[in-house]
Symmetry: C2
Subunit: 305 residues, 2 copies
């Protein structure tokens, strides 16, 4: 019997201005995923968490991604997947991506397949597909490439790693559910050209900020004229959280993915902790359960424990 245990980090996507193109792996929270390969055939799945996710391989994200690998690469034996999920499904910080990227990286390492990043991403997208209903890679790419990624072209797997200066991240996860499909539905199909221009100036600015270690530019570029005005309405006390975070010295931040999680970037850990305190204060007054995390960029993506 062969076995492996991997750490599957959460991830932020969009990074305010870059809807559908930017992703970033973070150190916390993360899932643990175990994979065992024994004699026999088929896939079995066990969840040690209470999230009630399907353990049917054809309905479980990790199961579908692994089945895709098994079929395509004609992998032999029985596979047992044990998932210890800490990233709540529907959180907006890449819970499904953690399972999808985690299983493909685990299988690749366990069986010595030496697949390319692109191959891994393809299989992971098959799994992610059943969660979001479409082939998106914004949360998957950083889990496979590590750090911050730009998805220039999903169809052609054009993924670019964007190196980053040190950055601290505060995440607020309100324990409410926002369906990704609904969060997509409410977006405008068409956007004013003048707003699109501002947005593509900001994605260019954010990349320049990261690559030139220019925190002030990163901060100025984290503006969203298209998605945030619509989606922020789904998140209770969104404006108050953002306002208080900026008062604490956040560089910028906003909704992660389709929400409800919010994140804020800071230059130092002290500010990131002060932001966490401020978020708690705002959310305590809402009566809504929540979690906060003070973390940093995960530069390696899914790794062996």
């Amino acid at each position: 019997m062969k076995s492996i245990k991997v750490k599957c980090p959460a991830s932020l996507s969009n990074l305010v201005c870059g809807y559908d193109i930017f992703g970033m792996a973070v150190e916390a929270p993360y899932d643990i995923l175990e994979l065992k390969n024994t004699d026999g055939e088929g896939i079995s799945i066990q969840h040690t968490d209470d999230y009630g996710l399907s353990t049917d391989p054809s309905k479980n994200i990790a199961g579908v991604a692994l089945q895709s690998m098994v079929s395509e690469l004609k992998l032999k034996g029985h596979f047992e997947i044990i998932i210890h999920k800490n990233i709540k499904p529907g959180s907006g910080i890449g819970s499904s991506a953690a399972s999808a990227a985690g299983i493909v990286v685990a299988a690749n390492l366990l069986l010595g397949l030496e697949l390319t990043h692109q191959q891994l991403l393809t299989f992971a997208m098959d799994g992610e597909m059943i969660a979001s209903g479409s082939r998106h890679a914004d949360n998957l790419a950083p889990l496979i490439y590590g750090g911050m990624t730009l998805i220039r072209d999903t169809d052609n797997f054009d993924i670019i790693s964007i190196p980053s200066p040190p950055l601290f991240i505060t995440i607020l996860h309100p324990q409410i559910e926002i369906k990704t499909s609904y969060a997509r539905e409410i977006l405008p199909k068409e956007v004013p050209l003048k707003d699109a221009v501002k947005q593509w100036a900001n994605t260019a600015g954010l990349v320049a900020g990261f690559l030139q270690n220019d925190y002030a530019l990163m901060s100025r570029s984290m503006q969203d004229f298209i998605i945030e005005p619509v989606r922020s309405k789904l998140i209770p006390a969104y404006d108050a959280v953002k306002k208080e975070s900026m008062h604490c010295g956040a560089l910028g931040g906003g909704i992660s993915g389709s929400g409800p999680s919010m994140f804020m970037f800071s230059k130092d850990e002290q500010k990131a902790r002060a932001i966490s305190d401020a978020m708690c204060k705002v959310y305590n007054s809402t009566g809504i359960a929540y979690k906060t995390y003070v973390t940093s960029i995960n530069q390696k993506g899914v790794t062996v424990v």
Copy 2:
């Protein structure tokens, strides 16, 4: 009498994917602008070219920009401007910007004003305003900051210099006129969100390509799903020029500004010359007069001769 002579380079704007945000100064063509400051008052203008531009200071781009400086900074004396224009007005490669940026840099140096880039840009925009009817800085910023610039926010003068790896540039200037105002009018007011996403992935990709010296990424990022499909129809043989240029090994290229000029980037001079030959071949068959230039990035903008 004090006098100064400056070289005012042409500039590319938009750089395919970055409508209204990217600009780049080039070594050729360029105007020469002379400025003399003598006793007396007022502004007089002389043009040594045949373009028939107004020499009335209130209707001439350089005149308006200088008048703005004179009024705001209470500059003394009579100013005589002599312009030797080589960049044909309406070419799409920053003819008006060369006059507007040229005069403010000349006055700044001649009088030892030590103005900031932002102050220079403000005065130059007053001049540019009478050419385009709106306060745009895409061609002005590279002439003041040098090299390639990202205009993240025109209203707040947020200009970012983007360093570049060595690059050769071939410019084709068909001698036809396209009114900037018309080229703006025909653009859609609204664009599909999915196209806007592709576009902001490409502006982010182009900046990453420039900053990481990744020519292949620069090449892949030079795609335009919004402006080129509309404006390219105004330029005779556009598709043929682009196709033949790419066959010669161009990294990418397209319309400069609102046209009619086209440009192509290459990694080496030999390719840039082959592209020029290919452009000539296509344009010879159209019967339309044209000029081509093989040049490189001008890293300094307007400089003293």
